[in-house]
Symmetry: none
């Protein structure tokens, strides 16, 4: 699913956008069992903003995908940065316990770094 963007209504003003999805789910590539977590993205847009409905459908693509915690977090950051070219963006993935262990992965992009 492609991430749609729309023109930033105020590209001259740096401001912050946060989207929190407590219903993210993907599949563990090792066991084939589902993983559940909260996926949070926070960014400062430049020329475009991420369209929320397409973000929802983009997240749905992971529902049957076997992928490690670390890979999914970095992939979402890469895909969203590629889609909207923001000034900066952070992705935080908080995973519910698997085998008694819960995990948090946090990755950040800053233009020019």
């Amino acid at each position: 699913m492609e991430i749609e963007v729309f023109d930033n209504p105020n590209p001259n003003r740096p401001y912050t956008i946060t989207h929190i999805n407590p219903e993210f789910t993907s599949v563990c590539p090792k066991t084939g069992l589902p993983d559940f977590g909260t996926m949070t993205i926070r960014y400062i847009p430049d020329q475009t903003c991420i369209e929320l409905k397409s973000l929802k459908y983009y997240y749905l693509d992971f529902r049957q995908k076997g992928i490690f915690y670390e890979a999914v977090t970095n992939k979402i950051l890469d895909d969203l940065v590629a889609a909207c070219q923001p000034h900066e963006m952070t992705v935080i993935a908080e995973w519910k316990a698997r085998g008694g262990i819960s995990s948090v992965i946090e990755a950040q992009y800053k233009r020019g770094e």
Copy 2:
């Protein structure tokens, strides 16, 4: 609806005014469905202050308006800055979940920046 202002009772003293509206509602331009959120504005007035009843009616104008989260946040900031010409102002829009995803948009104006 026009935003009314009244003379700042003490323009020589910089002080802070905050208005919190947990009952803001507009319409998603993509789906036609209503969005609900809490709209907070915080500003340091210069010569005029925002009249609270006209602010309430100004907010009511969004009740049937199709507009993106990012646009409504920036538009409110632009309209209120134009109406009362403050030293500085912040608008924070906290949206309830749509498609399982909740969002927060925060924009800020500082005179001279």
Copy 3:
């Protein structure tokens, strides 16, 4: 009602006094309806301190007075500064929701500024 003061028992030592009134009420000048809020004052006294009982009666004078949020906050700061001439003073007015919107006004005085 006049605000009474009494001699600061220790004018050589800068120290802090806070008075919190969660039962403040005045009248909206636009609608004639009552407003309710918490009025907090915090100050460093110089030669005199504010007498608490006269402060209570001073607050009662606002019960039937039609006055905007911003004006009442600044007027209390002006009146109390005039009465006790403190080193510095802050007034914070936290208002309960009117028309679904709650408000906070905060103003500060520092001698010499």
Copy 4:
């Protein structure tokens, strides 16, 4: 009631002592009615420490004494500093509501200031 002190068991090491009394009571000099509050003292002892039982009896002396909030806070600070000559000491008096208004008074002593 005199405040007793005892030799600081370790005068070479600066360390912090805090005593919290949530059952402090004195009398309002204006109305003759009782005031209730929490009296907290925090200090770094030098050669002597305050004996806790004598502190309790010292506090009891205020039970029938008509004295303003500001005066009692400063008097306790003065008396305790005189008794134990600390490196530094803070007194915080948090008063329950009177006439709907609650108050906090905080005063501090530092040797050499």
Copy 5:
């Protein structure tokens, strides 16, 4: 049990991984009685990441092992650093009360220190 690693999906970007295990248990070498605690590891990966299922089995090896709090914390830090060669790593072990005393041990590795 050997700790497995897999290739870091994004070795060029420093990001943070946290794994929290509230069900860690080992055995007190002095009394033979079980110890229970929460074991948290946080690290910035370099070329490899720790595979979560092998981490779970690695933790299981301590279930019957007699080992002091301090030793188990440092051993886990040493083993995990050896396995994945991270930029930096912290291990925090929070132990439930034994003989009425609860304990926390925290150790940290930084490459090049």
Copy 6:
């Protein structure tokens, strides 16, 4: 009761150990009545660590001992520093109310200060 120590499993790495005992009890030397409190020690070990069971028995020695709050806090710090020669150590004693007054004593040791 002597405090036992054991070899620090990783003396080259500075790390932090915390032991919290919410069931400490000693006797007031003035009234003969029991005092109750939470005794927390936090230290960075050098060559040796404090053995937890001997710490429990060491604490038991205070059960019948008449000793002031300030003295017991400093004595525990002195005894534990003597026993394990740490890089640094903090002792925090939080006492339940006596005569309506609760107290906190905090003392710290740093090698070389």
Copy 7:
């Protein structure tokens, strides 16, 4: 908007269905201002169940409708009973404060009563 129903998957077993909408909004017929509240319906279906998406659109019809609290509660109960002919149904409308007063209206239908 018509309320759609679908065949009850198990009409022989009495069971309970609850739908909670914390984002209900209608308009006060007296002031023209919006009302906000939580609308809860609970029912035991007979031959048909209420389809959730059509319920959402049915609620949207009230967004611009001027109607009293009591009327809207009873109308929803009447409309939903007519649509799905349940064994019994309860509607609870909890309204946010207007003029400082919040309200709850609860109405119930039982077949044969």
Copy 8:
């Protein structure tokens, strides 16, 4: 996926078993979008008990299945009753909000009713 059962270790004693799954997910047959909820089953076993791992895999079968809230609740009750023939069983499905509306479905089986 078939639900496995094992012999009730104590069929002569009526006792209660509860299994709570806060990570249940299925698909809305109307929109094709995922639903999320907590599925709770509580039962008094007769000759057999439900094996937990097979229950987990049974739940996984709904991950891609389009099915209404009411149908899934009744189907789970029917399937589990058929599998283990309990004295009685209750299924409670608590669904996260969709279109702003959250739902609870509760169905019960009692042998002989």
Copy 9:
């Protein structure tokens, strides 16, 4: 490990005893992985009471035992009833999540039923 008992000091008076163990652990017979939970027993003693230290060691026997949730709960109830012959006893086992599913098993014995 045998459960020791001691003479009930007051067998003529029915009274209630509760022992709560939040650190119970056994092994899943299906996966070989550990289970963790809180084991609560509540009983009215007749001629004998359960000795607490032997109960702790009795629980330790389950640390390496492969046994289902339902079996361990009933076995503990059977063993403890056999050991102390109480008027009545309840065992409640609350298990932490496995595969995302948490469980509670509750069994009860009443003499003469």
Copy 10:
């Protein structure tokens, strides 16, 4: 201090009156030290009601009075019953901890019992 009463405005209707004073204080007759507590009275008036300001001054009489917990509770009940002759009255005295022990005394009067 005498307790004043006023005519019950509706003696034909039995209704309940409760007065809660969280700032009650008297003196321990054994140690001479102050006691603090919350004094609650609840009664069904007959021909007269207790006047609130006189109740406040009545309570003040105990401020220097040496009297046991049990005696003060019963004396207040006797005095208030004598003053207003209610249908029934309950007095509940909840005392703050002394020597680590907190106490509650509750006494009740019913006419004709």
